[in-house]
Symmetry: C2
Subunit: 282 residues, 2 copies
């Protein structure tokens, strides 16, 4: 638990350019600097922000992958240090034994504070060369609060979100790449609905930073949003448009899990019942 | 898993009258018959449908509580038998050792098919005389599909919803009494948002039947909704109004958990990671 209260958070929604790391990095840098001009202290970038997503195959992915001490993460650390901010970003990670992960980092002036490897892989990620992560979502204390970290499809597994919440995450930083799907007229995209529920049932903030496209025939939702512990968005949702969603949030709200005089979303859990089947009537 | 496909489901949203069981039952009976006229084969009634919710104290609650073979459940069985339907309803249950539970039943022509005692109690339920349930949410095969059963605040615990889903629930029947809370302009109530997420992450239907009020100073949301496995409502939401929400749904949709060529919301779970903390980096 931190004692930080008000912090300003930004999600940078932009279009990475698959196969053009230089251009992608230029767009990231422009977005980060604009977010800082708008007061951001914590900046969340999309999943695979520096590489794009629609790899032509295993070779293109491996060529784009970098180690945790590679050029992209070094850029993030230098930028976080010089601007006095915290950055969370997705990137394709090449580990020491030559495996590739769909990873994310949290960095600050002290360097890499957390690395996370996506545990729940989406569709072609399973066949284009990514290995699935095996570690829990990290939760780390920073000068701007206690931050959790997970990636895109992970958010669809309430067990995983709960794990970060029970470890005390006040704000979950979630790099995402949400593919665009049809939905009923007038409905908010389901991906955002599920982030709202994830936040509310744990009374914590979630900042999901999405990308826009199109990219090699794939369209993206562009659903960047910051959701509060009541489960409601505190930023505008500009589907499909490049933009930076910025909100000043009160982390103290995420440390109070009570929702009525006699209810608390975490202590009301019945973990003794969840693990095994106990029938009241047999 | 059933092989039932299309079934018609109704959620009856009405105002029980606390302290007047005769009037409450008359309203239930009118609602059930109107739902059947509109084609309903499965009817979901609210939490504590026959008693109302705002008990003045322990005595009033105990006076309203009935055993599982009491008059109210007998009425439900007779009605289900004569009309050829399945009914799920909340009621205050008095058990054989004189404990009182916030319970729900599923009944059909064969009698009581499932009894469930609310495991996650809301606010004054903890002090007005209810004991918390200790059994898993039941999942039972009926002639209209495989049905799960849980009550109101239970829906805020994704672990509990998951338990019913992993047991094969195609439709979760959820009697609820959602108190009315303020929310940001233009936002759908969080209770409905969370039902949408519960349904989508498990690809099953959920029918939540809510009440309207007011009752002894408490206002109610009146948020009855049936949500499909994509997580979108398939009924109109008429907040605060007496009405019957009816939809014909395709249970086959709830038996297919796949969401991409390589993804399945249940088999993509990583239960080996959920139970213990494994850090990728130590």
């Amino acid at each position: 638990m931190s004692d930080i209260a008000q912090v300003t958070v930004a999600g940078v929604q932009f279009a990475p350019v698959v196969g053009d790391a230089t251009e992608s990095l230029a767009r990231i840098d422009a977005g980060v600097r604009e977010a800082v001009r708008r007061g951001a202290q914590i900046i969340v970038l999309p999943e695979l922000a520096n590489s794009g997503y629609m790899f032509a195959g295993v070779e293109e992915l491996r060529a784009a992958a970098q180690p945790c001490d590679g050029a992209y993460v070094r850029y993030l650390i230098e930028t976080a240090s010089s601007l006095g901010i915290v950055i969370a970003s997705g990137f394709a990670e090449l580990d020491k034994v030559d495996d590739v992960y769909n990873s994310a980092v949290i960095v600050d002036r002290n360097g890499v504070r957390a690395v996370y490897r996506k545990a729940h892989l989406w569709n072609a990620e399973k066949t284009c060369g990514f290995r699935a992560g095996r570690g829990h979502p990290p939760v780390v204390d920073t000068e701007y609060g206690r931050l959790g970290l997970m990636i895109c499809y992970d958010l669809e597994f309430p067990e995983w979100v709960r794990a970060a919440a029970l470890d005390g995450a006040e704000l979950v930083c979630a790099p995402v790449n949400w593919p665009l799907y049809p939905r009923p007229d007038g409905e908010r995209p389901g991906e955002i609905i599920r982030v709202q529920a994830d936040a509310a049932v744990n009374r914590m903030y979630i900042a999901a930073a999405d990308r826009v496209g199109p990219e090699r025939g794939q369209d993206w939702l562009g659903g960047t949003v910051i959701v509060d512990p009541d489960g409601y968005p505190v930023t505008s949702i500009l589907l499909g448009s490049e933009h930076i969603a910025v909100a000043t949030i009160d982390l103290a709200m995420a440390r109070d899990k009570s929702i009525s005089p006699q209810n608390n979303v975490h202590t009301d859990r019945r973990p003794e019942l969840y693990g095994r089947k106990t029938w009241e009537f047999e």
